[in-house]
């Protein structure tokens, strides 16, 4: 018991986020009479929120370095527009078009990163300019009109599901297999980590607790994939999301690059005197944001099956809110990828739940605003106490 409370305290920020997510989910599950967690709705939830989650992953890096990016919504729209020109007007091969679009995103990120990192203009201003610039360019490219429809293969990016290699009929067997495999890999990593710590003679938590954690991991992952398998299996987009979240968590937690990103946000001068190439890091973070914004724009366009001038409107605010709900600091140096994703899910579940309840967009906005404030206030008050 004792070790559970210390464990919780140690990860208070992270665990309080998870608890908040679980509570909000349960609340809406009850309010919606169980509609929220129906397989169909969970699938929808993932599809609806994927582009915000991807933006949030990029945004948390930007915010950790002490900057902000207001332009991501416009960039997503602009890339969506370009993709429509390429694929619909010019009939380009979708794979090639996607690659070109991601490269364009990187270029846009490099453009903004140049002004922030090398010229020293505050990111707030650079990306505010970018927000106007790329929204304007979107309108120019689309000539104020929507363009549709996309080729079928491109739509699959957002609306497709993994094929069932095992030919299940009522249930998607391949998805279940993937669930089992992923949970086993996670368990293997946990055991490996613990053994490593033991090898260095570090204190580790009690054995019982550790096994409980392993069982929990196995149960959660497999329940999730099972529920999805009873509908149409794993959406393609979930696979992309999973890969992105795992890759970025790894980079930020375990690699030198990640450390350098945190160091730049923690104390720019000290980082630079320690041999961190602060300008390159800042530049790189913006390039990365550009690529992810482009990906987000593509996914959104594929889901709508159209490029529209208003696409991506207010995405930047949802992404920023997700990052702060997820425990990042507005002063830089603090934040996690997983936190940002959980923050994004909190917002997503609320959006979805309130929509099912038939609450109007007006009230949804107001309530989301209050939740953002409450989450951050809770975090800060908690910090003061300790």
């Amino acid at each position: 018991m004792n070790s559970i409370t210390t464990l919780l305290k140690k990860n208070l920020k992270q665990s309080s986020m998870v608890i908040a997510l679980v509570l909000i989910t349960l609340l809406f599950q009850v309010l919606t009479d169980g509609t929220l967690l129906k397989p169909l709705n969970i699938t929808n939830l993932i599809l609806q929120n994927s582009y915000i989650l991807i933006l949030a992953v990029g945004m948390v890096l930007v915010i950790i370095t002490g900057h902000i990016d207001l332009s991501v919504g416009s960039v997503a729209a602009f890339i969506g527009a370009i993709s429509a020109i390429l694929m619909i007007n010019m009939q380009m091969n979708p794979v090639l078009a996607v690659i070109i679009c991601l490269a364009a995103g990187a270029l846009i990120g490099a453009w903004q990163g140049f002004w922030v990192a090398y010229v020293g203009i505050p990111a707030f201003i650079v990306t505010l300019a970018g927000m106007l610039l790329f929204r304007g360019l979107t309108l120019v490219v689309l000539q104020g009109q929507s363009i549709a429809p996309y080729p079928e293969s491109f739509q699959k990016l957002s609306n497709g599901f993994l094929p069932d290699l095992f030919g299940g009929t009522d249930i998607h067997i391949f998805s279940i297999v993937i669930g089992v495999a992923v949970s086993l890999i996670l368990i293997g990593l946990e055991i490996n980590g613990r053994n490593n710590q033991l090898r260095y003679n570090f204190e580790v938590g009690s054995k019982g607790l550790f096994y409980a954690k392993l069982v929990a991991i196995f149960a959660v992952v497999n329940t999730f994939t099972y529920v999805l398998a009873t509908y149409r299996g794993l959406p393609n987009i979930l696979v992309i999301l999973f890969v992105i979240i795992v890759a970025y968590t790894f980079v930020m937690k375990k690699t030198i690059i990640g450390r350098h990103v945190y160091a730049v946000g923690g104390n720019l001068k000290a980082a630079s005197l320690s041999g961190v190439q602060t300008k390159k890091v800042t530049f790189g973070v913006f390039v990365n944001m550009g690529v992810l914004a482009a990906l987000s724009g593509l996914i959104f366009a594929a889901r709508l099956n159209a490029a529209t001038p208003r696409a991506g409107n207010l995405f930047e605010l949802d992404a920023i809110a997700a990052v702060f709900i997820g425990g990042a600091s507005a002063y830089g140096g603090v934040g996690t990828v997983v936190g940002a994703v959980i923050g994004g899910l909190v917002m997503g579940v609320m959006n979805n739940g309130m929509s099912i309840l038939g609450l109007g967009i007006d009230w949804q906005q107001a309530i989301k605003g209050l939740v953002l404030l409450a989450a951050v206030a809770f975090d800060i008050i908690n910090k003061k106490k300790s």
Binding site: Y200, F202, K269, G275
Partner: protein, 509 residues
């Protein structure tokens, strides 16, 4: 003899932070109109005690009683203690660089009627206060345009404006040169003769001996003893602080000096903004293997700028000159290259330039040498932990764990973390800029020992220091800088305070 009146009494003060008992039943009695010094090793709890006294840590977060003028005090915040005339000047100055002297003095205490500031009164009152502290500057000068010594005087003027009865100074002279320190201490003595009481925390024992009427010693969060004027000697204080006597201030060393391995030739650099101002002028210097070389000079003589411009062009514009290591020319265009060439620079300003305060000890120690604990860019957390533990023991960093945030450490222990970081980078040339600023005598000895050890391994050490005894005690050879030029080179045998001072104040030609 008239019985002395006690102005302040702190009784059995206990203060705990998560995992640390910073103060454990501390008692302190201060007599009216005296200068009362508090001494103790780094992390002993001196700053914490003063923060309790001034309401930074409000009533209820500590145990024990505070009696000020025989009145029980339960301060909820700093404002309440200031209302009674208790004013603290913190270890880190708290002035706003972009505001003027007058604005800073009356910050939070604006001279205003109905919310409208009376600038004439502000400026004229500020002028009176500046006269009192003996600072000849216009009240309209911006804080960023005056040096630290003068800033310290502004802090005191600010305190005086609040009708101070008890002034607390936490290491006020740590960043000051000898002249400025002397000024400040004289001012304190003068204010004492006018009836003001002050508490001063300092690691400079000679100063304490000079000004203090009594000294309270704190060791590991406990008050050990209070020594009165007649008995104050440096040895006595040290004895109380570390619990044993320290016979030598500088560790024994048999220099084993090899050949020249590091050379700087015709080195010049200009101010980064004021393009015409040359900060370092045509400097030539060399360092031999196993040699400890000092750079003496007044504040503003260009020592830090010289070091930083060599260290991967971290300072200055239009930098010219050559650097050779082992006879080969180096092109040190950024810090990474400098580190890779085996150069390390320990900054004088640990908070601004040395540490990431919100990160923990182990992350700070590893930051400059992540390659050493990584495989293919992937960091081995366990290895990092082990390395940090190693340095915690070796450098005697006082902390419950290396996962502690560096921002929560005492000043001296923060300095040890910065040193650990650069030792872990295993440099061939270690440049130390004011390495013992704010460090207690015991820890100074430890740092000197480490310097000697590195030298005996054949590394070169370049020390910038404003404390001449330290330069004289430690260095095999000393360069003296004045106004950006090297004005003298002195061998250990010839190095005396007088000789160094002469070069420090005379510019060449």
């Amino acid at each position: 003899m008239k019985s002395e009146s006690i102005i302040l009494e702190m009784k059995s003060i206990t203060k705990e932070f998560p995992g640390v008992k910073a103060l454990d039943n501390v008692n302190l009695k201060v007599v009216e109109a005296e200068i009362h010094a508090i001494c103790g090793e780094n992390g002993a709890g001196k700053s914490t005690l003063m923060k309790v006294l001034s309401g930074v840590y409000p009533y209820g977060t500590y145990e024990g009683d505070i009696l000020f003028k025989e009145q029980l005090c339960e301060f909820k915040d700093i404002k309440q203690s200031e209302d009674l005339g208790i004013v603290i000047i913190h270890q880190e100055l708290a002035l706003i660089p972009e505001l003027s002297i007058a604005e800073n003095i009356f910050l939070g205490n604006e001279q205003a009627k109905k919310g409208v500031i009376n600038w004439n009164e502000t400026v004229s009152k500020a002028r009176d206060l500046l006269n009192k502290v003996g600072l000849q500057e216009s009240p309209n000068t911006l804080i960023k345009d005056i040096g630290v010594g003068k800033q310290q005087l502004v802090e005191i003027a600010k305190a005086l404006s609040k009708n101070v009865k008890l002034l607390i100074l936490d290491e006020p002279t740590a960043a000051l040169n000898e002249n400025d320190s002397e000024n400040l201490l004289n001012l304190l003595m003068e204010l004492r003769s006018q009836g003001m009481t002050s508490i001063i925390i300092s690691h400079k024992l000679n100063e304490i001996k000079k000004v203090a009427n009594s000294v309270t010693i704190i060791r590991d969060g406990q008050s050990i003893e209070t020594i009165d004027t007649a008995d104050i000697t440096e040895d006595r204080i040290i004895n109380g602080m570390v619990g044993r006597s320290l016979t030598n201030r500088y560790p024994e060393r048999q220099p084993n000096i090899g050949e020249t391995f590091f050379e700087v030739k015709n080195w010049s650099t200009f101010h980064p903004v004021q393009n015409e101002r040359q900060i370092v002028k045509d400097v030539n210097l060399h360092i031999k293997k196993g040699e400890i070389v000092g750079i003496a000079g007044l504040m503003g003589s260009g020592r830090t700028e010289l070091a930083m411009s060599i260290f991967g062009k971290s300072y200055g514009k239009k930098t010219t000159g050559e650097v050779y290591k082992d006879g080969k020319p180096l092109n040190l265009t950024n810090v990474t290259k400098a580190i890779n060439e085996g150069i390390a620079y320990v900054s004088e300003d640990r908070k601004e330039y040395g540490l990431i305060l919100m990160n923990d000890i182990k992350e700070n120690i590893s930051l400059a040498s992540l390659n050493k604990i990584a495989n293919n860019h992937v960091i081995n957390d366990n290895k990092e932990y082990v390395v940090a533990e190693e340095y915690r023991t070796k450098m005697n960093i006082k902390t419950p764990s290396v996962t502690q945030k560096v921002g929560n450490l005492s000043g001296g222990n923060q300095q040890k973390v910065v040193l650990s970081k650069w030792m872990f980078s295993e440099p061939d040339l270690l440049i130390l800029d004011e390495p013992t600023r704010g460090i207690d005598v015991g820890a100074k000895f430890e740092i000197y020992t480490i310097m000697n050890e590195l030298a005996s391994q054949g590394k070169g050490i370049l020390v910038i220091s404003s404390e001449l005894p330290e330069i004289i005690g430690m260095c095999d050879r000393v360069y003296v800088m004045s106004e950006g030029e090297i004005t003298g080179e002195v061998k250990k045998a010839d190095a005396t305070q007088e000789v160094l001072m002469k070069y420090m104040t005379n510019s060449r030609g």
